[in-house]
């Protein structure tokens, strides 16, 4: 029975992927991709990765889907022109051959994998008690492979700097995206008032439960970031100015605390990111507490995109800059560079 479920999930996944890739309309493709992300989290459940499933549903399906849907809306006008550039029959035939070839080689490698499979699970279980956390994934993320997590936090900051640096000069230090204004009596505004308190509790619970059960700071940060985006999209609060000091401090404090704990380990435990005996759990909690706000800010700001409005706080000028965005002929915009 469970084998049948796995087979159906695998076939559905392949069909959705194919549909997403060949669909003519970009919006259809992105909608397909969101469903694909949700289906993928079922695959993670089948593969015994509950933590991965939570991350996939929250980030792979949710945040990436929201990001791509936002982009589709703004790229509407460019689709027809791009369609006329589509590859000829020869290229397509070559692409089919290449893709089938690559997939076949990979499949042959999968079928030739060694038995028994190499595994680090015994070592992870053996040393988990020393870290003080009960969830082996959290143990790996913050003790055994903490360096990966540190570098990941730094990659996120660099990605945000990359997105911000794509702002036109005149909007530097401004706010990203349009100022949303929803109907104050509409369902979106209602949800944006009702859901965040629940979402914040669920997010913080996932954060705390991540020590011993599936969950953790990434899944938690995604839910908290989603709540913030909901409030922004209902127009109840504006996106932050990117030159705001508290914002920038909140972003860099996470990696800085992480590095500081690492250096403390180098001094006290003889290795960068090593934890002195008996201090592993408190150190992990300190790192997670510093990373959580940073992750919330970075995930939401990556979704917000590059600054597109000047920093002028008056709502009237925000309105004009928004209508300018829609009416101004696009080539004029590059003049500012």
């Amino acid at each position: 029975m469970t084998a049948l479920v796995s087979l159906v999930v695998a076939l559905l996944l392949l069909w959705l992927a194919l549909w997403t890739v060949v669909a003519r309309d970009a919006f259809v493709a992105v909608a397909g991709f969101v469903v694909y992300g949700l289906l993928l989290s079922l695959v993670w459940v089948r593969l015994a990765g509950i933590d991965v499933a939570l991350t996939e549903a929250a980030i792979g399906g949710g945040l990436t889907g929201a990001l791509l849907l936002g982009a589709v809306g703004r790229l509407r006008g460019t689709e027809a022109a791009a369609w006329s550039e589509r590859s000829g029959a020869g290229t397509r035939a070559f692409a089919v051959l290449l893709s089938v070839g690559v997939a076949t080689v990979l499949a042959l490698c999968v079928l030739a994998l060694p038995e028994p499979a190499p595994t680090l699970a015994p070592q992870a279980v053996e040393n988990l008690a020393a870290t003080g956390v009960g969830n082996p994934i959290t143990g790996v993320l913050l003790a055994f492979r903490a360096l990966d997590t540190l570098l990941e936090a730094i990659v996120l900051v660099i990605a945000l700097i990359g997105v911000w640096s794509l702002a036109p000069d005149r909007f530097w230090g401004g706010r990203p995206g349009p100022r949303y204004g929803a109907d104050p009596d509409g369902i979106l505004t209602y949800l944006a008032r009702v859901l965040p308190p629940i979402g914040i509790v669920v997010g913080l619970y996932l954060f705390w439960a991540g020590a011993d059960h599936p969950g953790g700071k990434f899944q938690s940060a995604t839910i908290l970031a989603a709540m913030w985006m909901l409030v922004q999209m209902a127009g109840l609060s504006d996106a932050p100015r990117i030159d705001s000091r508290w914002l920038r401090a909140g972003i860099v404090v996470g990696p800085l605390v992480f590095v500081a704990v690492g250096l403390l380990g180098a001094w006290q435990a003889g290795a960068f990111l090593g934890y002195p005996d008996g201090w592993a759990k408190p150190m992990i909690v300190v790192i997670e507490l510093a990373l959580l706000p940073m992750l919330v800010l970075v995930l939401a700001l990556l979704l917000n995109g590059a600054p597109a409005r000047s920093a002028d706080p008056s709502p009237a000028s925000a309105e004009t800059s928004m209508s300018e965005r829609n009416t101004r002929p696009t080539p004029a915009r590059s003049a500012g560079r």
Binding site: T2, A3, S6, A10, L13, L14, A17, T20, V21, A26, V30, F33, V43, R46, L47, A48, V52, T55, L67, L68, A71, R74, L75, T78, E79, A82, R86, T91, A95, L98, S99, V102, L106, A107, V110, L111, L113, A117, T119, L120, A121, P122, A124, V125, P136, V140, L141, T149, V155, G162, V163, L166, P168, F218, L303, G305, A306, T330, P331, R333
Partner: protein, 106 residues
Amino acid sequence: MNVETLFALCGCALVGIGLYGLIVQPHPLRKLVAFNIMGSGVFVLFGALAKRGAAAGMAADPVPQALLITAIVVAFAATAVTVALLLRLIESTATASLADEPPSGD
């Protein structure tokens, strides 16, 4: 066929499907979606390998699973940077073309 082999092969096929879309679709946003599918194929393959490493009472090897969480977050960050680049490309050239020839009038 056990579940890990099934999904490992499924991951291989996803890499192929994503690669096809990456080559054939002309619009950069579609290429980005296809690339994400290709990446998720690699993730599924890696997750199946983690499942093969089940031992010591664990249903799967936790080390690759933790790396997968990192990978999903980094993939989102890379996608966000690409989308920002793409929106900027359209803002400054009014087209989403990746062709070598710049569009006339530029």
